[in-house]
Each structure stands twice: as C-alpha cells, then as structure tokens.
C-alpha cells in the first residue's frame, strides 16, 4: 500500500464561476416556469377584474358581476351547498374512520379500499351514475320502487339541492376519512386507558377524550370539503343546471357563453378567491396548533376497541357507504354501457357490446378524448413531479435565493379554485401572443399549475426524510449538485416519486373545472366530453367511456400500490 501514501492532487486547477454550475441554470429556469405558470395567470386574473375589455381601469366589472341579484343568489346557493355537503361528508367519513382506526369491526381493510375507490372515482362519473339511478321517472331506483310498491313513481329526485349535495358528498368524504383516520392513528391507547381507569365508560371515553383530540383534524378536513364543493363544476353542471339551481361555478361558466365576459368572470371570482384564501389560512392555523400533543410523533401502544355488537352496526354502515359510493354506481355504469337503451332496463334483448365498439371505432370524439385524457394526465404528472422535485429540493436545501417565495409560488395554486385558475390561464395564454386556446399544451399548463402543489408537498416530504449528509457526501467526494440529485436523491426517493406521479395522474383524469373552457374540439378530455354527451342524452356511450376510464385508472392505481405501497394515495397532505 505504500504507493497509496503519495497523495495525487485531485483538486482541479480551474475553479468554475457560479454561472458555470448547471444547477444554477436548472433552478433559474424553474423560477421562470413558476412565474409563467402561477404568478402570471393569478396576477392577470386580478388585473382583468379591474379593467374593461379595452384596458381602462374601472370597477364596472364588479358592478356588473355582483350587482345582479341572480348572481348574488348563485354565491349564496354555493355557500348553502358547501355547508350541506360538509355535513353529509362528516356523517359519512367520521364513523368510518373511527371504525377502521379504533375498533374491532370486521373487514376494516375492505372498508379502507372502498374509501380509496370513492376517492379515485371521478365525481362526474358518479354524478352520471346517480342520474341513472335516481333520476325522476326513469332512474332505476325509482322504477324498482314503483314496481315493488306498485306506485306511479318513485320518491327519488337527484335533480334537487339535496340530491346534488348528496352526490358531491359521496365523492368528497374520503378527505374527512383520511384526516380523521390519520389523527386517530396517532392517538395513544394510553390516553383512552387513562379515561377508563378514572371511570369513564366507552362512549364517554369516545366523546370526551378521543373525538376532541381529533377534532382539529376533522374541522380542517371539513374546511377543505366546503371549499371543494364551492369550487366544483362537474357535478353541478350535470345536476344543478337541469335542476334550475344557479351556483357560483355555473354562473362563472355562463360568463364564458357568447358574448364572452372574461372581466366579469374575473370580478365575480374575487369574493370566492378571498373566501378560499381566508379559510385555508384558518385551516393551516388550526392544524398547526401545538396544544394537541398526542397528535404528533409516535402514538405509543395501540389496541382496537372492542365495541361488542356495535361492530356489526358499523360494518353495515360501511357496507352501505361503499354500496352508495362505488358498488351501485359502478354496476349501473357497466349495465348502461352494455345496454342498447338504458331506459329499457336490463334484459337479454337489451344487451349489446355496440357501445364499446362505437366509442373505439366510430365515435372518434370519444376515442380521442380518452387518448387526450391519458396523454395530458401522464405529461402533467411527469412535469409536476419533475418540477415538484426541483422546487422541494431547491427550497429545502436553500440552493436558490428566496426559497420561501419559490415555495409560496409553487403552493399558491392550492388557494385558487380550478375554474378561477382557468379564467386566469385563459386571460393569460388563450389569446396572442401565446394563442394556446384549444391546444393540448394549454390543458397541460392548466393541469400542471393546478396540481403542482400536490407534487411539491409529496416531494417535499420525501426530501425532508433524507439526511442532507447523503448529498454532502457526494459533493465532498467531487460530485456536483446534479450528480447528487441523479445518483442519490432520485434513486432514494423513487417510490415517493412514482407515488406522486400516479396521484397526480389519477387526479388529472378526474379534473373538469380547469379544463372546461380551456379545451377546444381537438383537445377535449373525457370530463368535458361527459358534459356534452350528457346534454345529448347519450348515456350509453357515456357509460361505456366511463367504464373504460375507470378500468384505466384502476390499473394505474393498482400498479402504484404495488410500487409505492397501499396507502400512497390516501395520505394526508
């Protein structure tokens, strides 16, 4: 080993200046992209709301948009709807979370998977399924009712305020479930034992100890659900419009009918935007409170509660929820997709595969919408994960100046409802000089902006879990920042990245509100086409398209669970 003692001088003579470091260029590009994707549309939206179409400063858009009682009523209706949806979602999600996390109810794993399925199910497909199930007269539940009881007509009418609230809640309650369950998972059994030892019964322990501990999480999730219901467009378009119910989102879209009133749409969005920002701020404050020690760190020993015969009641409730959210809607969609005419009921004579043949080989709009959805979602997911990784890495390792500002920009879209973000993107990029209207690029830009926060959060958690010394070891041995990223960080986070990719992909396939007035004839996606087909009453093709989409998404989620673990989608973040 004597020759090893002679120290070769590995230090390079040339010391590159800062601009020669490729990392600086990469992260500079990132900042530019963030400004284009996030800052520009949002600022453009605010700017437009204060200007008339010819560019003069004025408040006339506010006067026109908010001065009509019909428009104000729309805001109020959305508010009521948000409250109703939140209440139903809590009723659905909290008992399930309790049952799965804290009790000895049988089939807890199955319940968990059925909540995941409800989360994955696009809400516009759920809405279509419920129109088929509970539409007045022709709805299958109504027909079953009148056949069994011999009455004229069934009692269900999905085209109503409560019908709408019910359907929205069915596909948003997983949020309540996830927040409540992850909080419950951290409550140590010892805290409950302490209550029991002091003489509290099971119910008292539950209501006085367990639930108060997780209350901040429930309220936090409730705020998110409220905001999501106010911002939702898909289900309202399918149900509220036929029901004659004017909501904030349907009102925004009507500003985009001829004659186009982008400025009024922008002005009308401002109160909703303000409400969202304030409520998200409250939600952050609430969940950041340190008083609830038990909901942090290790939970200590945990034992499921033996709830005796109540476990069968809980199981029945879980089964009912999964029946309503997933099982019945999927059955009805499959049956409708195999029917010549869904209104004739299910019989041998009505059975056909023609709908599938049609959507693949004859109705080219459907096929291209499916291809578009998958392509745009995949591209968006890829871009989001790449950008999310760069943002998370650059900000947490403080590579770029102003890390807090970059983080803020990347997370800001969370506070902008999809439709409103779409107005900003429309104003910024639809016309010259970019002229992106109707192109796939604009859809990808919109989806990327909207879902970047999800990727940033997921990647941020990953980067935080890595000891920075792993990267410092690369650098001290002579590798640059990009070598550290490529050789160590990305390989170590591959599961996180795959998980984030699939999460963004699945959410993109469900996305309607940003797409609705950014897509043109060539860039239509499944969610937008659903509205068109529903308007035409073409429920058979629609159901077939839905079934194909569900199959694709299920496959992708299945692959994701194999790679990234069962819970990668249902994490609270």
């Amino acid at each position: 080993m004597s020759e090893a003692v002679t120290i070769a001088p590995p230090m390079r003579a040339r010391i590159p200046n800062r601009m020669g470091d490729p990392a600086v260029w990469l992260f500079g590009t990132l900042i530019l992209l963030l400004i284009l994707l996030v800052a520009n549309p949002i600022l453009r939206l605010i700017w437009d709301s204060f200007h008339t179409a010819d560019g003069t400063l004025s408040f006339s858009s506010y006067a026109a948009a908010l001065g009509r009682s019909r428009n104000l009523q729309a805001l109020l209706n959305s508010f009521y709807l948000g409250v109703a949806v939140t209440a139903i979602a809590i009723a659905l999600g909290v008992p399930l979370a309790l049952a799965v996390s804290r009790t000895n109810m049988p089939a807890r794993g199955f319940t968990h998977v059925s909540v995941l399925a409800a989360f994955v199910m696009p809400n516009f497909l759920g809405a279509i399924a419920w129109i088929l199930l509970a539409g007045p007269n022709a709805g299958w539940l109504n027909r079953l009712w009148s056949e069994v009881l011999g009455t004229d007509r069934g009692p269900f009418n999905i085209f109503s305020f409560w019908g709408l609230a019910f359907v929205i809640a069915l596909y948003t309650y997983p949020l309540i479930y996830v927040f409540t369950k992850s909080a419950l998972d951290l409550v140590s059994t010892e805290l409950e034992d302490a209550a029991s030892i002091h003489g509290a019964g099971k119910l008292r322990t539950l209501t006085r100890v367990t639930l108060p501990l997780v209350l901040p999480s429930i309220v936090g999730a409730a705020i998110l659900i409220f905001l999501e219901s106010v911002a939702l467009y898909g289900t309202p378009a399918l149900i509220a419009i036929p029901a004659g119910l004017n909501l904030a989102t349907t009102q925004i879209v009507s500003f985009f009918e001829y004659p186009l009133k982008v400025e009024q749409a922008a002005a009308f969005s401002m109160p909703i935007l303000a409400l969202t920002v304030v409520m998200l701020y409250l939600q952050r404050r609430l969940l950041a409170r340190k008083g609830f020690v038990s909901v942090s760190g290790k939970g200590g020993e945990r034992r499921p509660f033996d709830v005796g015969a109540w476990k069968w009641v809980l199981l029945g409730y879980s089964a009912l929820v999964s029946l309503l959210t997933v099982v019945m809607p999927l059955i009805i969609l499959v049956l409708a997709s195999l029917s010549k005419a869904w209104g004739r009921g299910f019989s041998a004579g009505n059975l056909t595969f023609a709908n599938f043949y049609n959507i693949f080989f004859e109705q080219l709009t459907v096929r291209s919408a499916l291809v578009n959805t998958v392509t745009y979602s995949a591209v968006t997911a890829l871009v989001c994960v790449a950008m999310g990784m760069c943002v998370a890495y650059a900000t947490q390792r403080r590579i770029t100046p102003f890390p807090t500002l970059i983080q803020f920009l990347a997370l800001a879209p969370v506070a902008v409802p999809g439709l409103i973000l779409a107005i900003g993107l429309y104003a910024a990029y639809a016309g010259p000089p970019f002229s992106l209207y109707g192109t796939g690029a604009l859809v990808v830009v919109a989806f990327t902006t909207r879902f970047l926060p999800i990727a940033v959060t997921a990647c941020g958690a990953g980067v935080r879990s890595l000891n920075p010394e792993l990267e410092e070891a690369v650098r001290i041995l002579g590798g640059g920042r990009l070598t550290a990223l490529g050789k160590v960080v990305v390989p170590l986070l591959n599961k996180t990245l795959v998980g984030a990719f699939i999460l963004v992909f699945v959410i993109c396939t469900k996305e309607l509100s940003t797409a609705v007035f950014l897509t043109g004839p060539a860039s239509r996606v499944v969610s937008v086409l659903t509205l068109d087909l529903s308007e035409q009453g073409n429920y058979e093709s629609l159901a077939a398209m839905g079934v194909v989409l569900v199959v694709i998404v299920t496959l992708v989620v299945g692959i994701g669970m194999r790679i990234a673990g069962r819970d990668f989608m249902l994490r609270r973040s």
């Binding site: 590995p10 010391i15 590159p16 000891n467 002579g478 590798g479």
Partner: protein
Amino acid sequence: MSKLELNNVRKQYGALAVVDDLSLQLRKGELVTLLGPSGCGKTTTLRMIAGFIELSGGSIAVDGRQISGAGRTVPPEHRGMSMIFQSYAIWPNMTVAENVAFGLNVRRVPGEESKRRVEEMLDVVKLGALAQRYPAELSGGQQQRVALARAMVVRPEVLLLDEPLSNLDANLREEMAGEIRRLHDEFNFTTVYVTHDQTEAMTISDRIAVLNLGKLEQIDTPWNLYNRPRTRFVAGFIGQTNLVEGHVRDGQIRLRGLEGVLPMGGQAAAASADMRISIRPQSLFLGPQGNGALPMGAVSVVARTYLGEYWDYLVRPTAGGDELKVHAPPSSVLDVGHESLLSIDPAGVALVS
C-alpha cells in the same frame, strides 16, 4: 508551509458569532482534533473547511491557495477533500463497493485501477468479504468502516471527520478510535477531527484545539493540554480538576492555608500576582508520599465517596483555605474528620487565566 491554514476565520449568524477569530495551522500529515462542548462552533468550523458554509470573515487556504475567503468560496466538490459524517451518510442505494468506488468514478479513475484501489481499501478496513452487500445489511461499526474506506480511497488533500463515533456504543467507539489512528498512521492524510469526547480526542490526536463559544481556547498536544492547561475552561473541560486561588512570587506558587510551596515548572507569570491554579485530583496525595510529590501541610477530610477504582475525598487545609478534591487508591482509607498530610505532584499543577 502549512498544509491547511485557517486565518482569523469568523462565522456570524445575525449578531451571533458562532466562530470568532479562529486561526489554526495544520502541518502535512497532522491529525488535529477540534474539541469542545456542543455549540462551541467546532462543526461549523469543519463545514467551513469543507466548503458547505461560507465565511463571514477571515480565510482558509490549502497549500497556500485560498479556498474560502471574502466573497469567494470554492464549492465542496472542487476542494479535493473528503469527509466522514456523523450519520456516516452511506448511500443505501449502492453496494459497499459502489459506495467506495464513487469518488474514484467522479474523478474518472480508469476502471481497472479503480477496481484495484477499491479492493485494496476494503481489505485495509477489513470489509473485503462484504463488498457486494447493501448498507442496510451492515452493522454500525461496518458502516463506519465503509465511510472510512470511501473517504480515504480518493487520497484526499484533507480528511475531515465530524463526530464519526458518536453513534456507536462505548466498546465499539474505543475500537474504532484506535482503528482511525491506525489508518492515519498508515496513510498520513492531513486530518481534522471533530468531537465533544475528550477521551476520543486524547486517543487519536497529534494536537487538540479546544474551542469554547466560538473561540480557540488552546491548541496543544494531549499531554500539554492535560498537564498545562492555559485557561480555566480547558482545565475544567479536559479531565477533572481543582481550580483554586493561589499566589505567585519569586517563581513559586503558594496556596491559601498550606505552608508548602510549589515550583512553577517554567510557566510564565508576573513576578508577583494572585492567580487561578489548576491542580489535578490525581496529583494530590494524602499521607507521607515520595515520587516527587512535595509536602504542603495538614488537611482534614470533609467528605468522601468510594467509586470502586479510587476514593474521591474532599479535604480542607486545617489552617483554612479552598477545599480540594483528591483521588486516592482504594487501599488508602480515611474517615471523615481525619487529619492527614497533603502532598502535591507539581506535574499536575498549572497556572490558568
């Protein structure tokens, strides 16, 4: 010329200077330890040498070439150093051999040579048989060896170690400290070692730099640091000691309440002054004593604790004065209140500021 030189290095966060006016020179092949309590600025100093942290003032040079200084910091990857981290930072996605080969690949060492050097280095750290394992399958001590091999195989200009043994259990720590010293003797890399553990520092260092509150207290050989601490902090931080008031006059040290005098042993001081004196408990003896210890006067036992390996006595001069801690062999049994003659070995006596 010094291999590594720190000149008046300062690091400031806001108004707080975590490292202040620190100067050090390392000869080629020297192993210097930065020792101090947590928060003393030792890790910050090490990370400034590595290039992970920019300086607020002063400069750092290797072979006379400035690598950190006003307005310019050579990035870590261009310093030709290597470092061993507290967490070892072994990349879990690579095998042992891949970990060790990494630095050679970055330096574009040809495949054959790289392979040979990796094999040699793994043999040196006794990991030859585990080359194809992944880090998760290794014990803490083995991971530590991988980190050592990975850092040394590139023949670094300067080798940096950041509390490398703090995650190991006590037995393994001693063994690995010996191992690090053995490897240093074999390869003679200029090495900066950071630790808060004085035993570790004594075991492996050529010289130890004691840091406190961002400032250098003393840099010296382990022997001098223990026997000739120059500041109160060093005397108290390295081993146990008695810090008492004394008077220096005519090259002799007098202690309150004791008639005997101690020679200064060449330590510089004003002609006549009151000073703090550090006296090691092992240099104090109760009862008649030869071996160069000088009789000082009568003391009585105030308190005692039996610690198995030695007696820990607290004594006070019968004529009044500071209480002194004495470590006596287990055979020397004295009851509380008992009077005895105290003698002191001048080798364990130091004037501190």
